[in-house]
Symmetry: C2
């Protein structure tokens, strides 16, 4: 009764994938969830945020008020939550435990359930417990003014003035969405640019868009105190006051949920998560860590991808597993941003800077960009010089998230820009920018083939820039 | 002075590609155009139609009236036309002749220009003269009520009731666009379904959408006569009257423009165009035919692709040319439709029907479809059973035209559904339907590998269904 083939801690994107996957192979699985089935994605992440972004962008068409939009978001979230909960409870070979798990040893978990305590054992344990928002203490800021992604989608009325601490993915996405709902929005970003893990060209464009739509942005700034409705920042050694603040959204990053006795099982971990090998296996061979608790994953889709690998590893251990694929990601601002592979600064640590060729093409120079009257957006690709092998790519476009997968396939299959130049696209589409960019590389390389070959040979095995 | 390396007849998408491409290789090119630089695409095709479709879809946001939209369409078309005209006249090695060309023999053209007649010779001649709309005679229908794609974008006021003869690509695109402008729209289709060169599933969905948005559709119907404002149809042996018709748009297909003495040059042709080999070469070795006059091309992007091949063949004749790639195409209805490769009915002529596995996935079952509240749309893929090699694909989705290229790359690189199942997509995107579909194929095949292998071996070299 209490013996399982595999126990999965956390029923979010990664955990559900593992549980259902292994159950499909006939394995007996325990799935333990302390909050809601579906995890952050369904309940406080992608699903409500993307629903909000979609409805806010189309509010004119459907003539919905901001309150109606927020209500619709909750309605769709709740509907999906119920659906997923009913579904998972009906999956054969899966036993759902609603409560908290604590490690007793590497194969035993103690469960605190509403019905009392229970101990279960499992040959394999998969940690998919997700993460929580980082919340900083700002003197004078009352608790009821603080929002995180966990409370944001429960508000029924958009705040008049929303301050967002953090200019990363969640911060920027929510800034655009709440701006469309009619709120005044102010982003406070500690670093020198928005979205500072992406290419600088992306930060420039999003900064420009913020200016255009009226989102206030304070860079190199930190919130220091709050008084009644005034938030005080320290910005380049000066003090700046932001007046009439209704709510403060903390979008400062995430910390992994690992507080359940991992030391009892002998699992190594640090404050960023659990270090694992390519198969998401921790230092303890029967314990795996996927999704937000894994150092190599921060998104729903990467948790899912790691979950699939874990299912394969556990159910079909004789199959050799290749390197973890390059994961794409998308930011649902207006326009969207999508990227796959590393930004230039990181590539330059792996390859000599003279070995990397950067090509880009502006969307407004494509015919579709022209017929749509687009004024911004681009495709940017870093490739090896001479061979044109694609290393990484960034797209900023209205549907960048749908366009990026062509480049994901290209990177995973080690395709070159020569090959991308031969693809025929329907006419007119924005993706044509990928072909134009590839053309530019080809016609820039072919006429000086001998020099390019020499440079390639010189730099191919040279060192990159040391990590600063 | 009158001797050229290559003469190009027609300055549309294909002709411009060849002229500019060869000029870049230092070849002296004559480019002859009797109407407007840019051809149909810029002047009476994709550019004005896609601008109209875009503006009509976003009219609520920008609060533009229908007249303002039509004016804007003309403005953008005229601007691009002028830009392209100025640009091509400045390209080094290209001489633009504005007038009509007639063949004297296989290397000599006689030009009728505003400045008088002129004779030129060229080692190579590329026919890129495009096509004209087919116009049928309907007794009683006055000339001023007839529109074709050539006159459609010059109207300043949308008609109250627009009848469209033909339910193909142009007919369906314009039906949705003018419906959005507030016109009453009626499509008269001779065949039994709309878009009858695409998969039947597409026709069903578009028919349903027409019903939803209020586009009247008459199938298996032919217009027989017109009286004052009433158009009479013959529909399944019955007579049907369509009242209050303002304008009739002829969207019945295209006929190639080949009326310039091809027989003098010895070029074989029929009423559908010029038969050519893989390199677009006609039966006369120095004469090529690309774009609408080529039997294998009906779109701007395919004319362009053929133009690129001709440039390669003429400028770099020593390079071997592979088979012509599989061309995708897109229909800009609402939602968009995109496809690459042949529909099932044609595939079944090449492969035994039992060798083909059809997989599909509905967009509403993806998480992005859910957050967007999508109710229709799908991805459909035909692949070889067992190996999963992708043969053709159809996508119906809001941005199908941007999503299809992943499948174009897959087909051209002979990728399998096993490979597509391993791609990680950003979350949440509609393209995930491609992965889900691939998953379905993989999990449907793996458990019965022995049977699938036997079936594959049995049908791989079996004959398809004879062409009816």
């Amino acid at each position: 009764m209490n013996e399982f083939h595999t126990a999965v801690i956390g029923a979010g994107s990664g955990g559900l994938t593992v549980a259902v996957g292994l159950a499909g192979f006939g394995k007996k699985v325990a799935l333990i969830e302390k909050k809601h089935i579906g995890g952050d994605c369904t309940n406080v992440g992608c699903v409500p945020s993307k629903t909000l972004i979609h409805l806010a962008s189309h509010s004119a068409e459907h003539e919905r008020s901001s309150q109606e939009i927020l209500e619709k978001v909750r309605e769709r979230r709740d509907h999906l939550r119920e659906e997923e909960t009913t579904w998972i409870k009906g999956v054969k070979n899966v036993t759902v435990f609603e409560g908290e798990a604590t490690f007793v040893n590497s194969t035993t978990l103690s469960l605190k359930l509403s019905t009392g305590e229970q101990t279960i054992t499992a040959k394999n344990i998969v940690i998919a417990s997700g993460s929580s928002p980082v919340v900083v203490d700002i003197p004078g800021l009352p608790r009821e003014k603080i929002l995180t992604n966990e409370s944001l989608f429960d508000i029924t009325q958009p705040p008049k003035h929303l301050v967002i601490l953090g200019g990363g993915i969640i911060g920027c996405e929510m800034a655009f969405a709440f701006c469309k709902l009619g709120c005044e929005v102010t982003i406070i970003q500690r670093g020198a640019r928005l979205l500072d893990r992406l290419e600088p060209e992306v930060s420039d464009l999003i900064q420009k868009r913020c200016n255009e739509v009226g989102i206030n942005v304070h860079l190199s700034a930190t919130a220091t105190s709050f008084d009644v409705t005034t938030l005080t920042l320290e910005q380049q050694s000066k003090s700046v006051n932001i007046a009439n603040v209704d709510k403060v959204l903390m979008a400062l990053g995430r910390k992994p949920n690992l507080n359940f006795g991992l030391d009892k099982a002998g699992v190594s971990f640090n404050d960023k998560g659990v270090p694992t090998n390519q198969s998401a296996r921790s230092n303890v061979p029967n314990i795996y860590a996927i999704g937000d608790v894994n150092l190599n994953s921060a998104f729903t889709h990467t948790a899912n991808a790691q979950g699939r690998r874990v299912v394969q590893k556990i159910a079909l251990p004789f199959l050799l597993q290749g390197k973890e694929a390059v994961y794409p990601s998308a930011v649902f601002t207006d326009p969207e941003i999508a990227q796959v592979g590393e930004p230039l600064a990181k590539l330059q640590q792996r390859y000599h800077p003279d070995l990397i060729r950067t090509s880009s093409f502006e969307l407004k120079k494509t015919d579709r960009g022209y017929t749509q009257g687009l004024e911004e957006g681009f495709v940017l690709v870093h490739a090896l010089r001479l061979t044109g092998r694609v290393l990484s790519a960034t797209i900023v476009a209205p549907n960048a998230s749908e366009m990026i997968s062509l480049l994901t396939l290209a990177i995973n299959k080690r395709a070159s820009l020569y090959q991308l130049a031969t693809i025929v696209f329907p006419y007119p589409v924005l993706s044509e920018a990928i072909k134009k960019l590839a053309d530019g590389f080809v016609f820039g390389t072919l006429p000086k083939l001998p020099q390019e070959l020499l440079a390639y040979l010189r730099f191919r095995w040279a060192k990159g820039i040391a990590k600063s």
